[in-house]
Symmetry: C2
Subunit: 391 residues, 2 copies
């Protein structure tokens, strides 16, 4: 793996090409106190928008990204955006999130590394990257920064807040924290409170980064090219990637095919599935920051809509708006039963809840792959929500 | 984690108390050529036995251990054996593997670290541990060393060869390689050829060890206490441990309980499930060798009864004896469908095949936990096999 040229972080940093990013600066007159006790000031949020806000301000849709996503939901590769938008097939004229009808917004999360303030950002107190001094953030903290973006854009109430995985966690928090600012919710392949198994997989990924001597306790930003915590971050991604897909698809796609023929065995000889994992590890290292990975993974483990609110059911009782849950048949990381748990809590309080299950063998990542099914469910939901509001 | 006192390897080494171990020395007049092309000489196999071989030599049962198991199937903690036997509840007078009736044998596998020649053993050419020079071994190589033990003990034909997980891989190879030396097989929670997902989980565990700077390319045996590849081996175990258990059991047992209260968040604060993983990681480091882990994990990935034999079906057509497959309802690592694949291949050739499914929520490790169900199936199988032979 040729990582010798790589800078210590794959973060977007001030001075890099902004691409489609726009920036909102949170009020600098008072510090932003985080749920976990940390304090930040001078927070910048990077976001992107597609389409236009209508005169009534009624057509705005917020998309919340997953662990390693960013604001680049749609759009091609260009300076500032090394990859195609992660839901490119869903956003545009005539697409499910039809930009002729809807104003689509996505903000990079707090603690992230693609333009919003995170551990690779300069600490205003020192001018140096925060590194190990960046505080732990929560899903609720992320949502609060998104509220600032909504205010900045003049959006009083989202037609829908939509997101998968960590994005779905933000969706649920929007419904609980700001029920008056949403007209519907679409949590996809997510959970009301991270389970022990989800925490366990998160924890081993974080340990992989910590095990990398180049992580240096989180203060690696001045490391020379090739000496960042690339191997640790890549390994964290490789572990996660297994859980994002499925046994079936791995068997169909890779089986027992090898990279080099098996005449004579060697310890580091690879099967094709290992090359696939390497590829995904290396790809992430190019565009992500190890400290952000640690923070966002921890935020997911800390995710519990019930914390400090008397439990999950009591918290979800605050949700007032129609909710569409989307689950994935083959998702073993956020299985369908966890979507039904959300639905049961909502229905117990008379909230209209619908469930659509993506019939896919791809596992958790199907929400990023089976776009026809996801798009059909989203388009129908948005149309229904608009219609219901007209009545 | 207090690993400061730990030697660089948890391997049993010559000079350590033998405990219940006996030793067989493979013929030293010719080198042992491994399937993958490596060569070893002066191989020692550590084994344990329970009960006595009957006059007809017809009551011998071979138990094959899993990745981190060893020959200590039964028996308490004593010098030389830091843990209770891994199937202690199944072996003894009146137990499923009734030592009043059966002669039970288990040998530590080739490449292991509990008495059989492995990477921590002295290389006869240098007197120093093999380390990185130890060749890759295969499941077939392990079985060939077990044949030497059978010869040494005067066992012409095993009443049954029994084993779970990697042990089950050995069981299948016994049936394919030495059909005339077995009277029945009991492969448990295993697979005919490692799948891409199993390889993927194996690969990330090996990467964790390689990422540990204390692994030193495999040559760490002279490292001072506390400076062995403990963190890497522990992380490999932690990853595996998640796959050995189940979402259900983790939720029931740990839920979202924390080790320290959540007033204020910190990145390395642990949930109880993380403490559990740490515990299992640390426990393994005390009694295992990182290089052995690499080798045996690779042997499992290389496992394919069909290699060089025209495929899995053609290979399993060599099996001639009644086979009992045991699967586990909640096993996501070696799921029941993989047991049925073995059965279908055997039945296609007219081999009597039975399937028993352990009704357990514990996941893959249920074969080490739900001993009542496993024991009942084994006892019935052994009695049936004896009866069938009398007819």
């Amino acid at each position: 793996m040729a990582r010798t040229h790589l800078p210590a972080t794959g973060a977007w940093r001030p001075g890099d090409p902004p691409g489609r990013r726009q920036f909102a600066h949170l009020a600098t007159d008072r510090p932003f106190v985080l749920e976990g006790g940390g304090i930040l000031r001078d927070i910048t949020v990077a976001y992107e928008t597609w389409g236009a806000l209508d005169a009534a301000g009624a057509n705005a849709v917020l998309v919340c990204h997953a662990l390693t996503g960013d604001s680049h939901v749609a759009g091609g590769v260009c300076p500032g955006h090394p990859g195609v938008g992660w839901w490119d097939g869903l956003v545009g004229p005539g697409r499910a999130l039809d930009t002729d009808r809807y104003f689509v917004v996505c903000a990079n999360v707090l603690g992230g590394c693609q333009g919003t303030t995170g551990p690779a950002s300069p600490d205003p107190d020192t001018g140096e990257p925060y590194g190990s001094r960046f505080p732990v953030v929560s899903i609720r903290d992320m949502v609060r920064t998104q509220v600032a973006v909504a205010n900045h854009l003049g959006v009083d109430r989202w037609l829908a807040v939509i997101g998968g995985s960590m994005g779905g966690m933000q969706v649920l928090e929007w419904g609980v924290m700001f029920p008056e600012r949403v007209r519907s919710l679409v949590p996809i392949a997510t959970v009301a409170a991270a389970t022990a198994q989800q925490i366990a997989f998160g924890a081993v990924g974080r340990r992989a980064i910590r095990l990398d001597p180049n992580w240096r306790g989180g203060d690696y930003y001045d490391a020379p090219p090739g000496e960042g915590p690339h191997a640790g971050l890549a390994l964290a991604r490789m572990i996660a990637q297994i859980t994002y897909r499925s046994d079936d698809v791995f068997s169909d796609r890779f089986g027992r095919e090898v990279v080099e023929p098996l005449d004579g065995f060697s310890l580091w000889q690879r099967f094709q599935v290992e090359r696939y994992l390497d590829y995904h590890g290396d790809k992430l290292v190019n565009r992500f920051d190890a400290n952000s990975y640690l923070l966002l993974s921890k935020a997911m483990d800390l995710h519990d809509v019930g914390r400090g609110r008397g439990g999950v059911e009591a918290a979800l009782a605050r949700v007032r708006v129609p909710t569409l849950s989307i689950g994935i048949r083959s998702d073993t990381l956020y299985p369908p039963y966890q979507q039904h748990q959300i639905g049961a809590a909502l229905e117990a309080n008379g909230v209209p809840w619908r469930y659509v299950e993506i019939d896919s063998a791809h596992g958790h990542d199907a929400f990023l792959i089976d776009l026809d099914q996801v798009g059909a469910a989203l388009a129908e939901h948005l149309a229904e929500t608009e219609k219901a509001d007209e009545r």
